[in-house]
Symmetry: C2
Subunit: 358 residues, 2 copies
């Protein structure tokens, strides 16, 4: 047992097994012989507290190392200044970039982030959503897991009056604000570019069909072909190819066809990379034999040889837009539901993998 004196007349006994008890507004009040409410007001610069007491209170608070208990405050005022984030995986470049951009905006507005990852599974997504509701976050922003095909957990969010914003991987099954890129446009301009380079037999590595982002990229692909009067060939479309390994295999399959494609538009940079590796290993020239375009503009695309043409998603900007939307929604919450769709135009970044010397 240790007798701990705080240079005041209030003593507390603590022993090594206890954490030093936190200083509260009551401690300050008692010492200053004023009420706790005055302390509370002084600390938050309430207009009709005398400058004198404010000074005294703040000085003592500092001296005692007072740290306000936000948990108590949160309970009392019914908000937490925390926003919940749900992403498939934190360590994926795209997501960590979005989060980074988001953080910079909301942290300046006094919000903190609670981040969870789903590992692409529906169960973890539901679990995370519920945990965030229970934590009484002031809003939730989410990019759907690949495994999510039911959406009732979002109804729960909305029933609890919590602003909900989807980004990138969104769903139209839930009425709510979204920030997405124009994947259709991205796919369209990628394929249009390939056509302009003289490619006529353009294959496509598509992603999981139920994710709108991928079905839109495919639509963009199809639209571009139609617009330029190029026949759509089913054997040139390979579904569910978004990893390096599957890209490698899918490329082998395509190059085994009697009528080989002269270009591949991949819905993911990683599958495009897999294709590139296969092509290089097997003596094909890029872009002369096969031109390549990926999607996402991952950092590596500019570093590999040849550089991989890709569609930039402005990930940081997505985060910033989500943040603005969020701040706007909490400001008006719980007024009438505002649902806004922000659609960001992607940019085609042209590199060697698709630039035929002319």
């Amino acid at each position: 047992m240790v007798l701990l004196s705080k240079n005041t007349n209030n003593f507390k006994y603590i022993n090594s097994k206890m954490k030093s008890p936190q200083v509260t507004i009551h401690d300050i009040a008692k010492i200053l012989k004023i009420s706790a409410s005055t302390v509370s007001r002084a600390l938050s610069d309430h207009p009709r507290i005398s400058t004198d007491t404010k000074k005294k209170v703040k000085a003592l608070a500092k001296k005692l190392g007072y740290q306000p208990n936000i948990v108590a405050s949160n309970l009392r005022v019914g908000k937490t200044n925390t926003v919940g984030i749900v992403v498939p995986r934190i360590n994926r470049n795209f997501f960590s970039n979005v989060i980074g951009g988001f953080e910079e905006v909301v942290s300046n507005a006094g919000y903190r982030m609670m981040i969870t990852q789903t590992n692409e599974t529906y169960n973890k997504e539901v679990e995370n959503i519920k945990a965030l509701i229970n934590a009484r976050v002031d809003g939730i922003i989410i990019s759907l897991s690949a495994g999510t095909k039911a959406y009732n957990h979002f109804k729960l969010v909305q029933r609890n009056g919590i602003p909900l914003i989807f980004f990138d991987r969104a769903t139209d099954k839930i009425e709510s604000s979204k920030v997405v890129i124009d994947d259709l446009d991205g796919g369209y301009s990628a394929v249009n570019h390939l056509i302009s380079q003289g490619c006529k037999k353009i294959a496509h590595f598509a992603g999981p069909e139920h994710l709108i982002i991928y079905s839109n990229r495919k639509k963009g692909y199809l639209n571009a072909l139609k617009k330029r009067n190029i026949d759509i060939r089913d054997d040139y479309i390979v579904n569910d190819i978004i990893t390096k390994d599957t890209g490698f295999d899918a490329c082998r399959h395509l190059m085994g066809l009697k009528d080989k494609p002269d270009a591949i538009f991949a819905a993911s940079d990683f599958s495009a990379l897999g294709a590139m590796v296969y092509l290089k290993e097997n003596g094909y020239k890029i872009p002369d034999d096969v031109a390549l375009v990926g999607f996402a503009n991952e950092p590596f695309t500019s570093l590999i040889e040849p550089g991989l043409t890709s569609v930039d998603q402005h990930s940081n900007e997505i985060g910033i837009e989500v943040a603005k939307l969020f701040l706007d929604e909490v400001k008006h919450t719980p007024a009438s539901k505002i649902c806004r769709d922000i659609i960001i135009k992607p940019d085609l970044i042209i590199r060697k993998s698709s630039r035929k010397k002319t």
Copy 2:
């Protein structure tokens, strides 16, 4: 105004401006004509609540869409099941990997993460630390910002009885647990490998001196040279070179020397990349003219041509180790301070950039 009936005799008036009021244990208690504490106990499977009431309570809770208010619970029990994380930038591959590994372990133990970024500045670091203390997180894990040269904010953490764990960028000015890699060993084996490949004039791109990780990498470099009886040349050591651009410039400077180096060990993959770009642009052969080794084993190192030899930091494993340490510390908190240092051996990943054909 809408009259909302919950199929019970308890009515609540809500209008469109209000969020639907949350269901509490008191609501459940009233309906079931039992006490709130019984509801609380039933919900948490207290042993001496009858199976019958448990069933009833849980059923009604489900029907009403009851979501426990964790904030209230947190306030009551004095812990939040939340761990605060402070990193320079979330979107840096290394950090998001550590966080990813960490999350997987602690989320299974029922913990959530509150993530903040410092953007490498001291001020934001202090601010974030204080916010996390106020949020009453159960622990804080941090990798120091490059701008941090004072450490009093960590004393504040410890005075509040909050377990504190450093990872990667740690300091010995604060007594606390750490998880780091053996940077000295990493630097040593990198340089030793270069020597084994026949390199004799090995330059070094060092990082900011006050960050232990970088000074250790440099020590490893120096030790290897000494051990193999190679003279240390000051003009071969360039400080504060950890970005692609500075790496490019530093490489130009080195290659402008009368006596050019035949290898560069960079304390960062990015500066090694900058060097690689300079060398390729200027017709130098890698590794024949200049061999390159980087540090961190960033994903791009295996994708560029030639592949960049690098030191893998086992980032995911660091996260897992930090998590284990954290779970152990909260279990014993606030017992006597345990300070453990976990030092993870890095792995040299040898690729073309340093492999001389023999």
